[in-house]
Amino acid sequence: MEPTVANIGNNVYFFDFTMILLGVASVVYLVGLYGDKPSISRGGTWICILAAISSFVALGLRWVESYQMGIGRIPVTNLYESLVFFAWAVVLFHLFVERKYHSLVFGAFVIPIAFATMVFAHFKGGGGAITPLNPALQSYWLHAHVITCFIGYAAFAVSAGVAVMYLLKAKQEAEKRTSGVVTLFPAAKQLDELVYKAIIWGFPFLTAGIITGAAWANYAWGTYWSWDPKETWSLIVWLVYAAFLHARVTRGWHGKRAAILSIVGFLSTIMCYLGVNLFLAGLHSYGGG
């Protein structure tokens, strides 16, 4: 159904600008990586900072514009908004990791995820229209639920990106090759550690996201858990990462197996986030535009 009250504000231009910046940043990071030119990659960092600011401005503007339209609410309520918020969280997470690990190679693996998200939002996110909230979404739980979930998702995205890097690096180290772009990656051991670290950040946020969702459902419908497809998929994601953490902490699963599990975890995250809305019916279908 076409929304009957739909307005597209100026915020969308800033989001489009962010999308272009992230595209450019992805290319710059990749060129910097393949050309072995850290100075070029440094440019990628600055573009990312600009993209983060532009996205921040866009979110703020969207918030203001929603009030001007008389349907004021936090801009995290539909597919478009959740996608751009997710991309923003990925960029921020990436900048943090880059700074903390003093390595400019992560961008080539993480920023394309943010870019792809923005492209998806632009073409499949319902045109960026600001739509009024249906009665079920009018709750303060919405803020806590969406924000915690997406910080979790962003951490898992970073983990999966780094896991891919790990697999490349570990292969190279095993073959004892010393040429090629993979040489520039941080040591496999460090990447392995980062795969884990990103997950231990994401996991509590995902847990909090599921709990706030349950609290909200209880307040709106009187059932905190109803095995709705979205709920069930969030549980699946939670179980996969719980398995990862147990294997890692207790069994000392490192390296390849851990990296693959992290990638599987992120694929289930994508299924939970997008797949459920696109393929399965349920309570969250209105959030899917």
């Binding site: 929304p3 009957t4 009250v5 349907i71 009024p132 249906n134 009665p135 079920a136 009018q138 709750s139 739980w141 550690e193 231990i200 996991f203 509590p204 847990t207 909090a208 709990i211 349950a214 609290a215 209880n218 307040y219 709106a220 419908w221 009187g222 059932t223 905190y224 858990w225 095995w227 497809p229 069930t232 998929w233 549980l235 699946i236 179980l239 996969v240 719980a242 398995a243 147990h246 294997a247 207790t250 069994r251 289930s268 459920v276 399965l280 019916a281």
Partner: protein, 461 residues
């Protein structure tokens, strides 16, 4: 860490399986996989609907394995039980060891233990053991935390620890899951959930639960005084088709007196005596039968109520029992509108009868103290109320809170320990050895340890 050499009885082997991480991970993955099927196969649909989607043989297999109502199936709940047993056994197995570490910390820093640590250092200082022990105790207290001092012959051992609670993070998390399950079980056993379609002006005391097959007496009446829908307006101020709010004006009646009145909207329920009434849906222009209830001896003023046609479900009428509409005819035996109802009274056989609108005394032949009659069929607006009573929900929230706390403790806190040994050396000197260990985030602790070690080493007499 079970003794490998010990001969294993079947009980030992079963126990070892129950506490194994392999089982834990297997159960986690099995639960995840089963849940995937649960989302692909739509749950709780009619067999006819499944037959349209799947081949007959597949429908048979899926039905007999409980895949159509997976979350209530024996095997899925068996997995949950296995999961809980695994968690509990792991805790029983490991917690005593952790408690031992916590209660009896390793306060003596002997040379053999020193060799097992990757973070360690040694130096020699001029002065006496007691003098340096006092100095290092002070230094450690300011750089890390106050140490326990143990005299062991001529040597002195200092032991300082931080973040001991991190040893319990994982058990807090595991316990939280058990608490959540407990809350869910309490809710399932004692609690109830139902749906009430309440026409404007009507009051109800019995809530159809379990899909209308059962009625629950909540002990008071809930009345719908009014219901309305508000729509968003477009830029010209005209209402659109998009609902902004739907709301009901509800009253709680006890012994015929209004005790509470509240306007409820989605996300803002009414709560009374542990029963929650949620605005969940509404219906408009649905036909319903307007009924009149009287006492056979006329000792009570007549009361009207509605039976909704749409739901075909049970209605609890105080004094009468459970009433269901079975059929409706516009012109029953040439006498006009009539409904066929089934009336069930606790402990009595149910009675099925036709009630024509033209004959208000038709029900009298049933011989009950109450007489019900049909007044007419009308179109009414009713509010859709989800009704829930869940005494386990606070237990669930307690578990959820503990879970977040437990996870944070488990992953972000670390049990950090620092040891110092001061032993006398020739020529009025002392030998100093330091060591450190951390359960998590070792890289960060390494830096911290180097800093502490540096400070201790630089200390002048």
């Amino acid at each position: 860490m079970v003794d490998e050499k010990r001969a294993q009885s079947p009980i030992d082997r079963a126990w070892e399986l129950l506490i194994s991480l392999k089982l834990a991970i297997t159960v986690l993955i099995l639960l995840a996989t089963a849940s995937i099927f649960g989302t692909i196969i739509e749950q709780n649909q009619s067999i006819e609907k499944y037959s349209q989607v799947y081949e007959d043989w597949l429908v048979k297999i899926l039905n007999s394995t409980g895949m159509f109502d997976m979350y209530h199936s024996l095997w899925f709940n068996g997995l949950l039980v296995l999961f809980t047993v695994n968690l509990t056994c792991c805790t029983i197995d490991r917690l005593p060891r952790v408690l031992k570490i916590v209660r009896n910390p390793k306060k003596i820093f002997d040379e053999q233990f020193e060799k097992s640590l990757s973070l360690a250092g040694k130096w020699r200082k001029k002065g006496s053991v007691s003098e340096w022990s006092a100095r290092y105790t002070g230094a450690l207290a300011s750089a890390f935390t106050a140490p326990v001092v143990t005299n062991d012959g001529e040597a002195v051992h200092l032991y300082a620890e931080k973040g001991i609670i991190s040893r319990f993070g994982v058990y807090i998390t595991h316990l939280s899951i058990i608490i959540i399950f407990l809350g869910a079980i309490i809710g399932n056993v004692i609690g109830y959930k139902g749906f009430l379609g309440l026409p404007i002006g009507d009051a109800a005391q019995f809530i159809p639960v379990r899909g209308g097959s059962d009625l629950k007496d909540v002990g008071f009446k809930v009345r719908c005084n009014n219901f309305w829908v508000e729509y968003y307006r477009d830029q010209f101020g005209n209402p659109t088709e998009q609902p902004k709010e739907y709301a009901s004006d509800l009253s709680i009646l006890e012994n015929g007196r209004e005790v509470v009145r509240k306007k409820i909207v989605v996300n803002d329920p009414l709560r009374y005596k542990g029963v929650w009434f949620y605005q969940s849906s509404y219906g408009q222009d649905k036909p319903s039968a307007r009924m009149l209830l009287r006492r056979a001896d006329g000792s009570m003023p007549p009361e009207t109520f509605h039976l909704l046609f749409t739901r075909g479900e049970a209605f609890g009428v105080p004094g009468m029992g459970i009433v269901r509409i079975l059929d409706f005819q516009d012109n029953f035996e040439g006498k006009g509108q009539a409904i066929q109802v089934q009336i069930e009274k606790p402990g009595q056989q149910s009675v099925t009868e036709w009630l024509p609108a033209a004959d208000p005394e038709a029900d009298r032949k049933r011989g009950d103290a109450f007489i019900v009659s049909l007044q007419g069929v009308e179109q009414v607006t009713f509010t859709g109320l989800q009704v829930a009573h869940d005494p386990g929900v606070n237990t669930v929230w307690l578990g959820c809170t503990l879970m977040v706390i437990g996870i944070m403790i488990a992953f972000f806190m670390s049990h950090q320990r620092v040891w110092v040994r001061i032993t006398p050396a020739p020529e009025g000197k002392v030998d100093v050895a330091v060591g450190g260990a951390a359960t998590r985030n070792r890289l960060a602790f390494e830096n911290k340890f180097e800093k502490i070690q540096g400070e201790l080493k630089e200390l002048q007499s």
